[in-house]
């Protein structure tokens, strides 16, 4: 598709050809020009391929990082500390709002093997990350250069099912999908997903539009573990969600937290970190009885990165508990580095007044350091093959569309 089709070039110089081209010729030309080659199957890499990629790659002393909104202190303290420690300058941009939208932006340049302008990016486990893995859009990581990850990552963050052996990704932070509700309007405690089907909250319920997030809730409502679900389970879950649809005010992407804080919705599906740090004090977050999902946002290097060595160095540095503690104090999601806890305690001891209270609350928060009992309630997304993905999407996508 990159090269100009000869037919087109000829067509533009000869009038008759051009006319033909505008008629049935157009379709024929398009057919010849625009088949799109498959690029799947790139998720399996051997040790020698990894070595081959990293051989001869050197530090450039600078780095471009694409991240999600709210994932770094406003004064970029963590990045400044990194630059001070390593001399690598970081250009940091919070340009990612949604995995699907981000994938839409990077798909074309990466397919054409062109730079996307970033050496490091953060993507959640799910359909788009899987697509990036399979299409060869990610650089296989050289774990010999990630000693901090090996030493400090929590056990549940190593060797995840969505990326065996952390071949392409290591976690940046993790969060829980559960329920947030506004105690100003909802007086009785909300404890389970089934409460989102209570007719008395009609028009005051918010759901997420993302097909995987939404599908998971349908699965919980029908008593199925999303990670182990089958196509039959999807159909049942979808039926349940359709039943719920008349009660739903809106299927949200990002703006649900503002809606529940302002009272436009009273109960909504929510991510733990948003509810912890962005919502008003009257908004409460719960992990439902039926179970919640835990997802992970992952650091990965796009295949056309210009400074992969620097990116890898930053990834390793972020797994230093001291460095990560500062970040965790700001992000308030689950950190993949359990060792941060003692550093946050040190910071709390050194702080005073309100800061001290905030830090102490953070250490105690089950949303940042979930207990084993909490973790036992949490499930993961199902990894979908290409065929399954199409079926899954066709089952759940129409629900927020009202079809």
């Amino acid at each position: 598709m990159n090269e100009i089709n000869p037919l087109l070039r000829r067509g533009l110089t000869h009038r008759r050809d051009f006319l033909r081209l505008m008629g049935i010729g157009a379709v024929g030309m398009a057919a010849a020009a625009c088949g799109v080659e498959g690029q799947g199957g790139k998720q399996n890499v051997t040790r020698s391929e990894v070595e081959k990629y990293w051989a001869g790659k050197t530090r450039t002393g600078k780095l471009n990082w694409a991240n999600w909104v709210g994932y770094m202190e406003d004064d970029r303290a963590t990045l400044k500390a990194f630059t001070k420690a390593t001399g690598i300058e970081v250009t940091y941009k919070e340009v990612i709002n949604e995995n699907a939208e981000w994938f839409g932006k990077i798909d074309a340049p990466l397919r054409a093997k062109q730079s996307i302008g970033f050496d490091l990016m953060v993507m959640s486990n799910g359909i788009q990350l899987e697509q990036c893995r399979q299409l060869g859009y990610l650089v296989p990581l050289d774990h010999a250069k990630l000693p901090n990850f090996a030493a400090n990552a929590g056990a549940s963050f190593k060797n995840p099912s969505y990326d065996p052996d952390n071949t392409f990704t290591i976690p940046y932070t993790s969060g829980i999908t559960g329920i947030a509700y506004n105690t100003k309007y909802v007086k009785e405690p909300i404890t389970k997903w089934a409460d989102l089907l209570d007719p008395k909250y009609e028009g005051k319920i918010g759901m997420m539009g993302d097909s995987q997030e939404l599908g998971n809730v349908g699965m919980f409502l029908t008593g199925v573990d999303p990670e182990k679900s089958t196509p039959d389970d999807w159909a049942k879950a979808a039926a349940k969600l359709r039943e719920q649809r008349p009660l739903v005010r809106k299927y949200y992407t990002q703006d649900y937290i503002e809606a529940v804080t302002k009272g436009d919705v009273w109960i909504t599906m929510a991510w733990s970190g948003d509810a912890y740090s962005l919502a008003g004090p009257e908004v409460k977050f719960v992990i439902p009885e039926e179970g919640g999902t835990i997802w992970t946002d992952n650091l990965c290097i796009p295949s056309t990165a210009e400074s992969p060595v620097d990116a890898l160095e930053l990834m390793n540095w972020l797994y230093d508990p001291r460095a990560n503690a500062t970040l965790t104090e700001y992000i308030n999601y689950i950190t993949p580095v359990p060792g941060t806890k003692e550093f946050i305690r040190q910071d709390a001891d050194a702080a005073s007044g309100e800061d001290k209270e905030t830090l102490e609350a953070l250490i105690e928060s089950p949303l940042v350091y979930p207990t084993d009992a909490d973790l036992a309630k949490l499930r993961r997304y199902r990894t979908l093959t290409q065929a399954e993905k199409e079926q899954y999407q066709s089952v759940f996508t129409p629900i927020p569309q009202g079809s």
């Binding site: 057919a31 625009c34 088949g35 799109v36 028009g203 302002k262």
Partner: protein, 284 residues
């Protein structure tokens, strides 16, 4: 010789621009719309017409809704724009340009920002509804956000200047001596308006309708920001198919179906209004 070439040279920059940014992508999209496959295994051109039939049967109601919203919002635009343009053209005197400028002032702010600010105005417990609820004038569970009404309001608001400007231009050009002549022939004010002003300004209305109806029907921002679960427009579906599902063939087929529907709509409208006025409007 040089004189004969001049028009072609003048048309060259615009023509090239259109070729590169309209013709090429549209041909590529057309070919995509007949492909089959997926992102991982690749897409192959197989004359897969089913993309169209499937798209229509699955999302037919969204097409209908988009066109219906387009009609409603366009009608609302005419209702709001015509009197305003009329007043500015005939009654505003020396300050015409000032009033026109004031009319357009809000539109110097970005589209998204203005749409999002509607959300603040219409919030369930925001300044307007919240206050009315506190005074007991509205039921506690009354809401506007997430309803069809909110979407139509947003669409009307966002595309209003595209209706005001062409109507104003058409009215502005009307020779005042025609109005005097009508009065000399004992036409009442209403008759003058209906027989003289309205027909002469219709090309402006036509241009306005074309400039608002098409973008309104294809819009997805308003439905996304102000609408609820029942207000999804076809633009939202196309966006979702492109970005969330990476189903490029389906998204392209839906885009073409929308284009076709709009072309048919505009054509019917042009026939209804008479070809002469349409040509006149196009010639402006």
């Amino acid at each position: 010789m040089r004189r004969r070439l001049t028009p072609y040279l003048l048309i060259l920059p615009g023509g090239l621009w259109l070729t590169v940014f309209f013709a090429v992508p549209i041909i590529m999209m057309l070919s995509f719309s007949l492909m089959e496959g997926n992102l991982i295994d690749g897409f192959a051109f197989t004359f897969h017409w089913q993309n169209y039939t499937e798209g229509l049967s699955t999302y037919g109601d969204k097409f209908a809704r988009s066109l219906w919203y387009g009609l409603l919002a366009t009608a609302a635009c005419i209702a709001l724009a015509y009197p305003a343009a009329y007043w500015i053209a005939f009654k505003a005197g020396r300050n015409k340009s000032t009033y026109l400028f004031l009319m357009l002032l809000p539109f110097f702010v970005s589209f998204i920002l203005r749409t999002v600010s509607w959300k603040f105005v219409l919030a369930d417990n925001g300044i307007v509804l919240g206050t009315l609820k506190d005074w007991g004038l509205l039921a506690q569970d009354f809401h506007v956000l997430g309803t069809t009404f909110a979407v139509i309001c947003g669409l009307t608001y966002n595309f209003l200047p595209f209706m005001v400007l062409p109507i104003y231009v058409a009215l502005e050009k009307i020779d005042h001596r025609l109005l005097e002549a009508a009065q000399d022939l004992y036409a009442s004010r209403v008759q003058t308006f209906l027989r003289v002003v309205l027909p002469l300004s219709l090309p402006g209305v036509f241009a306005g309708v074309v400039m608002t109806f098409i973008p309104i029907s294809a819009d997805y921002v308003n439905a996304d920001v102000l609408g609820g679960s029942g207000n999804v427009m076809i633009g939202n579906v196309i966006y979702l198919e492109y970005f969330n599902n990476s189903d490029y063939p389906m998204a392209s087929a839906l885009s073409f179906t929308l284009m076709g529907a709009l072309l048919v709509g505009i054509f019917l409208y042009a026939r209804l209004l008479g070809t002469k006025d349409v040509l006149e409007a196009a010639g402006r």
